[in-house]
């Protein structure tokens, strides 16, 4: 791929990125969240067909119009969310959309069976009955089936996006064996991971992206860990973001030995996490994709119901984790990381969204007091500088930044003691970002504690008084003062065991 660029509206997601891929190698694609890895991958496998630059496959320029087109050229991607159909059999999944046909126009199931068995054998997987539905097998096997599907298409390039995030240790080893086997058979693999040990275990070469730009490419042996981290960070620290309010000594919020299971209760998303936050403090949580940071906030807030293990204290009193409603009553607020799907009710008006979490204030004895509500909404509109000509407009008519302010206003309206902010500045314009930083300063000055997740590292560093770093559901570092550097954070976020402060 040469000189690939991609723009979304006004922002450039990729600018002049090149990557070279040889048969039989595992090529690591590294970079922080938002560095442009997924955009690049989507262009390569035909999801985005509009881009600048060119792709050359075996000395021939190609342009893929769709994922199917890319697949025909031998490029297959295995995403984190598997694309298998749970209730269908293994062989049917492998040949989905490309069924082997008999002459009379019916599906040749026996040919599919034989072919699937052959592919699975090539991958070194035993004990999979290709007639059983895939849902009966663990995720690791499903992933193998995805790989088998890719092989059945004669894919020469297989893209794996964080394939180990849901796997256990032995399963990871099994996957690596498979990858080694694929390399020997001449397949090229693009491998995206946030785990340092994996990079050095299976990678042959590495390309580093940062902010949509190409930074470096080298054989893995030539890029030491420190050099890799340096390449990945290197973002300008933003001097304009200022942290002004003072942190009190008084502890406000404490979490002890918390485990958070996923809603189905199959496995822990967060393991044995403890931390505390003081009055007026902004506690940053850093973590790359799959670190469990977001799940930690959702879990504390009660979005997954009661926690399986651990305890939480607010103002020295036990805090009951049961449901969002209960958490709000106790003085907690959670700004979710996706305002469109979990933050706002887009079809409702601005007023109705602002007051949604604090309706009892405006409806004593269940009866709505509309003038009270209007007045409060107007107050928050001014306080947060929401730009809207009419508060009765649907919230979906606002720009991203103003929508985010409406979501924030909703939570400020509940008068919380602790604000959990998950990506408060994602996808909004610069001016709105700065307004939100300003608001965070104001709220901490008023005695709130803020627990902040953001994938923009300069923002995190500038705003946080202390930072905890998470990796695979556990805390891998606690940083304070001078030790808050991009390098330290990234080392810990990629699972480098370093001395813990």
């Amino acid at each position: 791929m040469h000189n690939i660029s991609k723009r979304f509206g006004g922002t450039a997601a990729l600018e002049g990125v090149s990557i070279e891929l040889y048969p039989g190698e595992a090529h690591i694609l590294a970079g922080e969240n938002g560095a442009g890895k997924s955009t690049l991958i989507k262009i390569l496998c035909g999801v985005y067909s509009e881009y600048a630059g060119r792709i050359v496959l075996e000395n021939r320029p190609v342009k893929f119009s769709s994922p199917q087109d890319a697949a025909r050229h031998g490029i297959a991607a295995i995403h984190q969310e598997l694309s298998l159909i749970p209730a269908m059999s293994v062989s049917d999944n492998i040949f989905l959309g490309r069924e082997k046909m008999k002459k009379n126009g019916t599906v040749d199931f026996s040919a599919q069976t034989i072919a699937s068995q052959k592919i699975l054998k090539r991958l070194g997987i035993d004990g999979v009955d290709v007639h059983r539905p895939v849902e009966e097998y663990p995720i690791s096997i499903m992933q193998m089936i995805e790989i088998a599907k890719a092989l059945s298409m004669n894919s020469r390039i297989i893209i794996m996006d964080e394939p180990t995030s849901a796997l256990t240790e032995p399963e990871v080893n099994k996957l690596f064996e498979t990858i080694s086997a694929l390399k020997l058979q001449g397949h090229a693999i693009i491998y995206i991971t946030h785990k340092m040990e994996e990079i050095y275990k299976i990678g042959d070469r590495i390309t580093v992206l940062r902010d949509g730009r190409f930074v470096a490419a080298a054989p893995i042996a030539d890029m030491a860990r420190n050099a890799l981290i340096r390449n990945m960070v290197g973002r300008e620290l933003n001097e304009q973001i200022q942290r002004r309010s003072k942190v009190c000594a008084e502890e406000l919020f404490r979490v002890e030995n918390l485990d958070i299971a996923d809603p189905q209760g199959n496995r822990n998303l967060v393991n044995d996490v403890s931390f505390s936050a003081r009055k007026g403090e902004i506690l940053g949580i850093a973590g790359l994709q799959g670190s469990g940071a977001s799940e930690l906030l959702n879990g504390i807030f009660g979005a997954y119901g009661p926690v399986s293990k651990g305890s939480v204290f607010l103002n020295g009193n036990p805090f009951v984790v049961r449901s969002p409603g209960r958490s709000i009553e106790q003085g907690l607020a959670l700004l979710t990381n996706d305002r469109k799907t979990t933050g706002l009710v887009l079809g409702m008006s601005i007023v109705e969204n602002i007051t949604l979490a604090s309706l009892p204030q405006y409806s004593p004895v269940c009866w709505m007091r509309n003038s009270m509500e209007q007045k409060a909404a107007l107050r928050y509109k001014q306080e947060l500088n929401i730009k809207a000509d009419e508060l009765s407009r649907e919230v979906s008519s606002l720009s991203g930044g103003n929508q985010q302010k409406v979501a924030l206003a909703k939570w400020v309206g509940t008068k919380p003691l602790v604000l959990l902010l998950d990506e408060p500045t994602r996808g909004i314009d610069v001016a709105s970002k700065h307004e939100i930083y300003e608001l965070m300063n104001r709220w901490t000055a008023a005695g709130c504690a803020i627990i902040l997740i953001t994938s923009e590292m300069p923002e995190l560093i500038a705003l946080s008084d202390r930072i905890i770093v998470m990796h695979r559901g556990r805390i891998s570092a606690r940083l304070e003062g001078d030790r808050i550097t991009q390098e330290n954070i990234l080392h810990a976020a990629m699972g480098q065991e370093r001395e813990v402060a």
Partner: protein
Amino acid sequence: MIPLVSNTSQKTFISRLMQYPVTRAILALIVIFVIGLVFNGGGAFFKWPAHRDMLRQYSVFGILACGMTIVIITAGIDLSVGSMLGLSAVVFSLLTIHRDWNPWHAIPACIAMGAILGVVSGGLISRFRIQPFIATLAMMVFARGLAKFISGGMKISTSIQQADGSYIYKNDPAIFKMIDSRILDGNLAVVTLIFIFCLFISWLILSRLRIGRYLYAIGGNEEAARLSGVPVIKAKIFAYGMCGLFSAIAGICQAAQEYQGDPEAGVSYELTAIAIAVIGGTNLMGGRGSILLTLFGTLTIGYLDKILSINAVSEAGRLMLTGVIIVSAVLLQRRRK
């Protein structure tokens, strides 16, 4: 009303007006009304009794549609309203005619029964996460079965079979006559008054009470509502409970107008109730709609039926025309971008 689409000054006054769902609902009604003025059944459409009788006949459907609107706003559906109407009609007739209950005991008993069955549906849907379609389908079959069981498959009327096979005859209970009578010099049926009352209650719930806001939020984005502390389970149970309650009221009205409790009453009424809500402009995806729209929906469907009836259109023609009109009305309702 809340405008649904952002305002741009270039648009004409009419097209701006058409952004409001209420305007579109009124327009559909006007179209039907004009058809009535043209095909007036030998002038019958120009006389008040035609309108009064339409209101009487569609009051029962309108009451069902009130409950249906509340449920649809939460992005749900209740298929059991017709069966619940039948069950309530049977129980009400049984209590007042056979058991000689005082109506002021029988009415609350029936309403409570409807509300409880609605709460059961709501519990299955919210607490046990059964799809509304399935849960209320089960309730629809169950309530019909219960109505037949209680009535023994017979209409509960004023002729009562004795153990020896002979019949005794009772007078119509006063409450039946009262509900089936008219007020204002015979110009408004009592059931229409009850319908207006149900409209008012629904309006209070949806527009004036906190729970109403919760219902819209759940229909608009259930996950966001839940994360904003909205008691989703309680609110849904409430919605289905109200729907059951309104069905029971409709059943009482139906029984009083037939002077009997027919266990087969209300078959396929749920479809009419859904059609009314949808024609009014309430969105089956939830989160949008209002009781005012449901009122217009009731009038639109009611007038359509009345016009077909006074012109003595054949059954086959009515079915086809009704299908065409429903689709046209919904197309007319569609939001323009």
